[in-house]
């Protein structure tokens, strides 16, 4: 039976592929009719007998008018169905995807009969073409024309009587119809329909409300969420947890159910059962309470839990429990990653009189917590974390913690090492592997900044954990914990009295963003805390101070320009902040040329400009063209089809019939600005080129955590001036006047063994109250096809002046950009005037900018020469949220050793950049950045360039028209997302699970003869180990030859090549192979790590011979068998060699062995083993990729795609 229905569905889908829009609708209608007939034939019950009524529509009338005419202005419209026949196609795709998943998804564990019943029932439901209506009140719709549909041919409106029931559908059970009880929640209906045991098997339920909207909620004690009630006539879809039905299938199913009338759902199943209304449980489920520990991470008091805040969350936490006061900033860039930094003040210890006088001791630290596993019915959520990572390590701790929730209770249990494990109430489990784990080496603070791996997970270990209880009085959360620290090995010989291992505390959630906490810890001390928290991705500020936008009105056929074009330009500048350079009316097109400035929220400004153009443009103007420039560089050309734009603003349009109103294209080198000579004088206006501009504002500079005072600051006034010689050439300057500061305390100059390019910061800040941080002449140019160039000179930043140039290649909307900058600079005088010091440097970088497309993460990789002459690279990773706020971190490693660099070992930091638009009540261009750089040192210091081409070309970003104010608007009519397929987006690591399982099977399937052959080859190569090593020893250049260095660089070159291909620059085939190669390299490294741990073979330079093995200890991880270089080189090369017929890549990979042997890092046999290992993983993963052959059919929101892969 299902097969028959499937054929019908496929027939309908095939119809889409060949027909026109109208033909498609006919095909759908035909298929639907057949399906309905089939339903009746197979199930033998009549179609739904709805009491619904549907008087005919009058084409062209508003839905609100239809309602007033047919039902009255005060009728009950809660079951209103606005139906559009053209929407049936997308709803059929929605249903087909669900049915296909039910029938073919191997993860679904339903029986054949259950699958068949569910699929058959779904196929029996009518395709309604229903669309959502924002608020189905005719009087409200009349006031909001953009939400009020204009009814056309193919539309219908159905009003059904108010249903008094709620329908529950669970896999394997017939629909259950329960009486609606006001106040009843999902769990109440599940208990009424499925019984207590059935309810207990459901973790998450979807509710399709009668107004057509859907939502899902956690309904098990470990997933409880705040939830809306199932309204009258709603449908609850409640799959059992062990049904294996994927989230997106349930999501699609619930949205399809939302297109139905309740009566249809009940009547299409002969087995529907009626049950009485539910009994109310009494208490509504509440969401998990995520509160900060004393250390700022989500946790109890002194101990962390495995919980994570939502992505985008940022938290500032201040806690005090004597003698420690901690100020922590924590970020949640990803769902599974929490990271942040902290300053700890120790009130009874001093920095040291020689450094910081009587200032109390301060310590900086960085924390990291990773979620390893999400919570499930039986499994707790598990997280792995590190505190005080990479600082001086005074409070360094590692932990693994598990958290399990039961309603308002959340229990955690963990194992802690370091500061969290001082109590030592259990043996270190790693001590069973190696006795060395039983003792923790003293923090080798050295210069700080490096991760002290040698101490991790070593020494005393303690169990910690506790309970959190969300009290019935909502704002209060209570905590009880077992502390893993007994405070008897405190850093700085500062042991504390602790009479109890139990800490108790409470959190008062004063507002959604402010928590106060109090606790009693160690049995002796009071703890007080304050936490400010919120979602960076939710930050927004209503634009209350913006001028009201012009209302959108229909075009008057006789409309002539309402204002002189100059006034139109003025209005656009007022609403957008742009600088309008010209407006031209040319027959049917109105063209606007504007300089856009630095505002990130482009979409909102484009919309405002269109509103003004629509208000003022003549009726003959059917198209608006916005030629947007940045510093004279053509950025984008936005074409607006006026009638379509107007239609979308004047009525709710069905998504299936909606045409794109706005199209953005790359700005061309010579944009199609109409020639003035072709138009009448009254139809064009040219603005003056911007000349001199002046601005002022406050300035603020701070330094945190220095030895001269925790906060050193200056407040002042800053004047900015700019003179534009032309759009593309300008002179800009900044003058700063310091007004208020505490720099009299600023005495410390950091030590440095490098040229002092940054550590003269005190001198630069304090020498003069009036400074000239910037005076720069800049010229930019466009060279076509995404190539840009700039040249600049002057006082480029507060510490350096000179000349420089930059080239950038940035394809329109491409994921990858590449740029190079070169600068010759001289150090400025401390007074930041026009004088210079002696130090000069040539500095510059090549930078790749990669928008990964994964979780809005962008990675920038720079390599080059830094200000102190050091050479190295900088990695900058950031997540840019939809409102434009970016959260990022950078790290720079150069050829400066940790000792030369000084405290911190290498340059690194965290930053948040915030568009002013999201935080001010008036639209304001500009982006502010707050960076936290633990220490200012001379290594890895880059020139702070005021204008970078990447920033100037922001409009070429694929998300340029997507960054916008967080949308708090209520749901709208005809939402495009309502009944469109939800397809899961594969994560960056999602493929790894399946790959690993397949890899396991492939390894198991390797014939014994292959193992013997490979093992024999490795053994045979050991015979040559010593003679080859003798050659290396006798080598005149002893491993420093060009050949050796080149050879050592081959794996990196292969990795860079694979990385480049992975960005898509070489086409889809190369991208796919690159993904395989990168995976293979990862697996190879992992496998080799385990091999080294087990084998522990010494390296040639250790002079222990080639038969010295000392495995199963952590030192063995750095041993020589097998060679990582060679293994990775082969893993990267093999997929390309096999799939793209490039056998010479094996030679390249093999050549990487030369350097390893010549430098006496490896025996020959190490490299042979590495080659086998890398080849094996490369080949196996390559086979996996090639194994995806045959036809795969996938259904997308707008198409059916068949992929046929063959050898």
């Amino acid at each position: 039976v299902p097969l028959g229905f499937l054929l019908l569905e496929v027939a309908a889908l095939a119809g889409f592929a060949k027909s026109t829009v109208r033909g498609r609708l006919n095909a759908i209608a035909g298929a639907t009719a057949i399906i309905l007939v089939c339903s009746t034939a197979f199930y033998g019950h009549a179609a739904a007998q709805n009491m619904a009524f549907s008087p005919p529509i009058v084409p062209g009338e508003r839905l609100s008018d239809w309602l007033v005419r047919n039902a009255g202005s005060n009728a009950d419209t809660s079951t209103l169905h606005w139906r559009v026949s053209a929407e049936r196609a997308s709803q059929q795709r929605l249903r087909s995807a669900v049915v296909q998943s039910l029938q073919h998804d191997t993860n679904i564990t339903l029986s054949v009969e259950e699958r068949s019943n569910l699929a058959t029932w779904l196929l029996a439901l009518p395709l309604t073409g229903r669309l959502t209506v924002a608020i189905a009140d005719p009087r409200w719709l009349q006031s909001a024309p953009n939400q009020d549909p204009i009814l056309q041919e193919g539309h219908s409106v159905v009003l059904a009587p108010r249903s008094a029931t709620v329908t529950v559908i669970s896999d394997g059970a017939p629909p259950c119809i329960a009486r609606h009880i006001s106040g009843a929640l999902i769990g109440d209906y599940l208990r009424a329909c499925l019984g207590t045991s059935g309810d207990a098997q459901v973790d998450r339920a979807w509710v399709s409300q009668s107004d057509g909207r859907t939502a899902s909620y956690g309904v098990a004690p470990w997933t409880f969420e705040a939830q809306a009630q199932p309204g009258l006539g709603s449908v609850i879809w409640a799959p059992r947890r062990n049904s294996g039905i994927p989230f997106n299938v349930s999501d699609n199913l619930s949205r399809f159910l939302a297109t139905q009338l309740p009566g249809d759902i009940a009547s299409t199943s002969a087995r529907s059962q009626l049950v009485p209304g539910p009994t109310l449980a009494g208490t509504a489920p509440r969401p998990a309470q995520l509160t900060a520990s004393d250390w700022g991470e989500i946790g109890l008091l002194q101990t962390p839990t495995a919980r994570m805040a939502a992505a985008g969350d940022v938290r500032f936490q201040l806690s005090q429990v004597a003698p420690y006061t901690r100020g922590t900033v924590m970020f949640q860039p990803l769902d599974w990653l929490e990271a942040g930094f902290r300053y700890t003040d120790i009130s009874n210890r001093l920095y040291g009189a020689d450094i910081a006088g009587d200032q109390t001791f301060k310590d900086k630290s960085i924390d990291l917590k990773l979620r390893l596993r999400q919570e499930s019915q039986y499994w707790p959520q598990i997280a792995l974390g590190v505190r005080d990572l990479g600082g001086t390590g005074l409070f360094s701790a590692e932990y693994v913690v598990a958290s399990k929730r039961w309603g308002n209770w959340d229990a955690s249990l963990g194992l802690g090492w370091g500061y969290l494990g001082v109590r030592g109430n259990v043996n270190n489990p790693f001590g069973r592997l190696d006795q060395g784990f039983n003792s923790r080496p003293a923090a080798d603070v050295g210069n700080g900044g490096t991760v002290n791996l040698e101490a991790m997970f070593r020494g005393p270990t303690a169990v910690f954990g506790g309970l959190q209880w969300h009290s019935p009085y909502d704002p209060w959360v209570f905590k009880l914990e077992l502390d893993g620290n007994d405070y008897q090995r405190e850093p700085l010989n500062n042991n504390q009295q602790a009479t109890s291992p139990i800490n108790v505390g409470a959190v008062f959630r004063y507002s959604p963003n402010i928590d106060f906490s109090i606790g009693f810890e160690r049995g002796t001390r009071l703890m007080l805390g304050l936490t400010l928290h919120g979602g960076l991705n939710q930050v927004m500020s209503p634009k209350l101070l913006d001028p009201a936008l012009p209302l959108v009105r229909p075009v008057d056929p006789d409309q002539n320009p309402r204002h002189a074009l100059g006034e139109t330009a003025q209005a656009i500048e007022l609403y957008t902040g742009w600088s309008v350079r010209g407006i031209t009316h040319d027959q049917i097109t109105t063209t606007l040329v504007a300089e856009t400035g630095t505002a990130l929220h482009l979409q909102a400004r484009v919309e405002r400009a269109i509103r003004v153009l629509h208000r003022d443009a003549p009726a003959t103007s059917n198209r608006f063209v916005l030629l947007l420039r940045e510093r004279g560089l053509p950025m984008s050309q936005i074409t607006v089809e006026r009638q379509e734009w107007l239609a979308q603003h004047m009525s709710a349009e069905p998504p299936a019939l909606r045409l794109p109103a706005i199209e953005a294209l790359a700005g061309a080198a010579i944009q199609t600005e109409p020639a003035v000579s072709d138009v009448a004088p009254q139809n064009y206006w040219r603005g003056k080129q911007a000349g001199f501009s002046l601005g002022w504002g406050p300035s603020y500079t701070q330094s945190l955590g220095g030895p001269d005072g925790f906060l050193l600051y200056q407040l002042g006034l800053e004047a900015t001036a700019e003179y534009r010689f032309s759009d593309r050439t300008w002179l800009s300057g900044t003058l700063n006047q310091r007004l208020l500061d505490n720099y009299k305390n600023f005495n410390y100059t950091g030590p440095s063994e490098l040229p002092r390019v940054r550590t003269f910061i005190r001198e630069y800040l304090t020498t003069s109250a009036s400074t000239l941080p910037l005076l720069q002449l800049t010229h930019v140019a466009e060279m076509g096809n995404g190539h840009y160039f700039s040249a600049y000179g002057g006082m480029l930043e507060s510490m350096f002046g000179g000349v420089g140039a930059e080239w950038l290649y940035r394809p329109w909307r491409g994921p990858l950009a590449f740029g190079v900058d070169v600068n010759h600079v001289r150090q400025r005088d401390f007074a930041q005037n026009f004088a210079f010091r002696d130090y000069t440097a040539t500095t510059g970088h090549a930078t790749a900018y990669w928008d990964t497309g994964w979780n809005d993460v962008q990675i920038n990789l720079s390599v080059g020469r830094y200000l102190a002459g050091d050479v190295g690279g900088t990695v900058d990773v950031k997540r840019v949220f939809s409102n434009g706020i970016a959260l990022g971190a950078w790290a720079t490693k150069t050829n400066v050793s940790a000792e030369q660099f000084g405290e911190g070992s290498f340059d690194k930091g965290i930053y948040v950049s915030i568009p002013f638009d999201v935080m001010l009540p008036r639209s304001t261009a500009g982006i502010g950045t707050i960076a936290w750089n633990p220490l200012t040192r001379d290594g890895g210091a880059r020139l702070n360039r005021a204008f970078t081409l990447y920033d100037l070309t922001r409009q070429r970003d694929s998300r340029a028209l997507q960054w916008r104010e967080t949308d708090l608007q209520a749901n709208g009519s005809a939402e495009a997302r309502s009944y469109v397929l939800n397809e899961p987006r594969p994560g960056l690591f999602d493929g790894l699970g399946g790959t690993t399982r397949t890899l396991g099977r492939q390894i198991a399937d390797i014939p014994g003869s292959t193992w013997l052959w490979a093992g024999g080859a490795i053994l045979a190569s050991t015979l040559l180990d010593k003679s080859i090593d003798q050659w290396a020893q006798n080598s005149p250049e002893a491993g420093t030859s060009t050949l050796a260095n080149t050879s050592n660089g081959l794996p990196l070159a292969l990795a860079l090549g694979a990385g480049l291909m992975y960005t898509g620059i070489g086409g889809e085939a190369a991208q796919s192979t690159a993904e395989t190669a990168i995976k293979a390299a990862g697996y190879t490294l992992g496998a080799n790590l385990m091999t080294r741990f087990v084998v522990g073979r010494s390296r040639p330079y250790q002079e222990q011979g080639n038969g010295d093995f000392n495995g199963l200890n952590t030192t063995a991880l750095g041993s020589g068998f097998a060679s990582n270089h060679v293994a990775v080189a082969f893993a990267l090369a093999t997929p390309f060699a096999r799939q793209h017929d490039m056998p010479w890549l094996y030679a390249v990979a093999g050549a990487s062995a030369i350097g390893r042997i010549e430098q006496r890092d490896h025996w020959l046999s190490d490299t042979v083993a590495g080659a086998f290992m890398g080849y094996a993983f490369g080949a196996m993963l390559s086979e996996q990729q090639r194994g995806d052959k045959g036809m795969r059919l996938s259904v997308t929101p707008n198409s059916v795609v068949a992929n046929w892969t063959f050898k």
């Binding site: 005060n74 009950d76 809660s78 009087r139 009349q142 101070l545 601005g695 915030i914 002013f916 261009a925």
Partner: protein
Amino acid sequence: LLFLVRFSVLIFFERLLRICSLMLLSVGLYGCAATSPAADVFSTLISNQLSPSQSSAMTAPLNSKFRYLLVDVEGRAPALLVLGYLDPHPGGTVEVWYSANREVLKTQNGRIIATAGLELDWRAVRFSETPPPWSELPSKGAVFERWRDEMPGYRDNIHEQMAIQPWPVEPPVSLSAALPVNDAKNLRWFREVALGGSANPLPPAWYGWGSHQGQDTLVYSQQCLSASFCLRLLRWPVSQSQP
């Protein structure tokens, strides 16, 4: 009392904290901005935070062709609504009021029977029988049933037993500042409560019946859509002498 004092301090503290953090953040960002934004950032920020813009609703020039309703929500500036429709209904004419933000308030005999576009809406209100007219309400009061649908949250069919009774003096609650004291004294007052124990009961509603522009009508009311969201509705202008 101590609790109230502490709470007031907390509220003050929060506001102060918000202002300070915003100022600090803006100053910090301003200093770090790649290019400085307009100089009026500060003024807009401070003016918005320290002195929320006072509505001009009470001084707005009125068009004599329209009828107005002044709506006052605790802690916010009042808004002026205009009458859009008079929809006939068996239970009494429904007045449909619109705000400049396109929010809709429907009243019937002065009672709110529907709202649309507010942060909390009563989408539909139904009565077991039409509540007695204000002018005919017996001195012992009257009882009727009410069902309402509340959004967001799909709280449908909330059922309440309502009791209304005359109130001989001015209500013991703070009235809208726009209602002149003498006018308040001249109104006939009614108190309407939901009977029965609800976990989160609505505060009583107060209705003031009297003469407005020569007609006896419900001049003033205080009605709560939730325990923390109460509206004060006043027919505007309060007297003919108003502009």
